[in-house]
């Protein structure tokens, strides 16, 4: 018999926890002893009720599906205070990043701006094109008008390799 969340009837799944733990990052959620220091200093806790200690606890219980389908993992500002101040080096922020990548993998709802940035990276290598900005006197300004050099694009092969890295193909 496994643990069931009474609110959502979600079932714990320890194998999914293992999958998260092996993802790239410095996280060690299993060492957490729930002191909640992370949550007490979290800037997103005040604004968006992000609770890093809960993310860690739910992962440890195997309730990974609940996390990756929840909004909570997208409320982190990535300020790294939780990682810095954790006495156990659990690194909630790294765990949150691992959960986000899992949400992408499972095609959950992901904030559109992330996918838009990624498609720009695939297209031109950078997260956005060179912007025409306005100066204080409302004059349009570009790299050219400022006399800044035009950076060269990534090589032809860049796109095919980055697509491979996204699918994990070697």
């Amino acid at each position: 018999m496994s643990l069931t969340d009474l609110m959502t009837e979600a079932k714990a799944d320890i194998s999914k926890r293992t999958k998260i733990l092996t993802k790239v990052g410095d996280h060690r959620p299993y060492d957490c002893f729930n002191c909640m220091r992370c949550t007490s200093g979290c800037p997103s806790m005040k604004m968006l009720e992000n609770k890093p200690h809960q993310v860690v606890a739910l992962t440890n219980l195997g309730l990974v599906d609940e996390l990756i389908s929840s909004e909570m993992i997208w409320t982190c500002a990535l300020c790294l205070k939780c990682k810095e101040r954790c006495p156990q080096r659990a690194a909630p922020v790294d765990l949150i990043l691992a959960l986000r990548t899992s949400a992408v993998e499972r095609q959950m709802k992901v904030p559109e701006a992330y996918m838009k940035a990624l498609s720009m990276v695939l297209d031109i290598g950078l997260i956005q094109s060179f912007q025409e900005i306005v100066s204080r006197d409302m004059e349009p300004v570009t790299r050219d008008t400022l006399g800044l050099p035009t950076p060269a694009k990534p090589s032809e092969k860049f796109k095919s390799v980055i697509v491979k890295t996204l699918t994990g193909e070697t």
Partner: protein, 294 residues
């Protein structure tokens, strides 16, 4: 000294003032800058999408820097600086990760045999160029002016890998301001996030977070806020009006890059430092220096 510069997306595509002011000031302090060909995003936003793809992006830029033939790499953006440092740690710590990344690099015709020495503007100026040299070039010192600094999260945390300054008591940016003759004030929210990390998923909260910090800075009464990261500058300066309306308050805090402040103290022309691109009230700073904006 000669450094290769990795500017990163934010600076290359919109935060032109940082690039202009770095290009204008550093060579006058004996730092020769070399651009790197064919760079891409450092990988920071991709960490939320696919961890290994993000690592690959970091590794390919490091490989391109190596190709440029310069051992020292200057990374003026806090986010890129952290992403590169983390990527080097990940590759050093895991043979499996490293061989996977190296194989992809090979496919792109790249090779990473040596990790560069990574610098940020703050430690390059503070530790390498040195405070004495900076005080020497400050021919128009900022006497009587009070500033606060916002070091930004990613150059001070996490302290288990090499970072630019102390994680709980960062002082380097403050000392750099004081080398120019200004006063740098301590304040309660110094270590707090600017909110830029929420800009993709929660733009309004991002503006609120930045706005509340700007409000607390305004309440201290300072001549300006000094930053060293393009993401922080974007929310505090370009989006200051949005921050103000989000928190239903009036904000009038001049915000500028340290390299812009350095240039002013060196007596350089405002436009060459990209000061005409700042949207916050930097006239206030220029006028206090007894100069005319223009």
């Amino acid at each position: 000294m000669k450094v290769a510069v990795y500017w990163g997306c934010m600076i290359l595509t919109s935060q032109y003032a940082y690039e202009a002011s770095v290009r204008e000031t550093l060579p006058r302090l004996g730092v020769e800058l070399q651009d790197i060909e064919g760079v891409s995003c450092c990988g920071a936003p991709v960490k939320s999408i696919q961890g290994e793809a993000a690592l690959y992006l970091a590794a390919r830029n490091l490989a391109l820097a190596e190709k440029a033939g310069v051992e020292d790499l200057l990374v003026p953006c806090n986010g890129c600086h952290l992403t590169f440092t983390e990527a080097m740690e990940d590759m050093r710590n895991s043979d499996a990760v490293r061989s996977k990344i190296f194989k992809w690099l090979e496919e792109e015709g790249l090779k990473l045999s040596n990790y560069p020495t990574i610098w940020h503007i703050v430690d390059l100026l503070h530790d390498k160029i040195g405070m004495r040299r900076i005080a020497e070039v400050a021919t128009q010192p900022l006497a009587g002016m009070r500033f606060v600094t916002h070091p930004g999260c990613h150059i001070i945390r996490p302290s288990n890998i090499p970072r630019v300054d102390d994680s709980e008591n960062p002082r380097k940016l403050d000392e750099l301001v004081e080398a120019l003759g200004g006063t740098s004030m301590e304040y309660a929210g110094k270590l707090d996030c600017c909110g830029a990390g929420l800009i993709f998923a929660h733009p309004e909260t991002s503006a609120a977070m930045a706005g509340l910090k700007l409000k607390s800075i305004q309440d201290i009464g300072v001549d300006g806020l000094v930053v060293s990261c393009p993401s922080c500058q974007q929310v505090y300066d370009a989006k200051q009006a949005v921050c103000a309306s989000t928190i239903r308050s009036e904000l009038n805090v001049p915000v500028l890059y340290y390299t812009q402040l350095l240039g002013l103290a060196m007596g350089l022309e405002e436009k060459k430092l990209g000061l005409h691109l700042n949207q916050s009230n930097i006239e206030k700073i220029v006028e206090r220096l007894g100069r005319q904006f223009g």
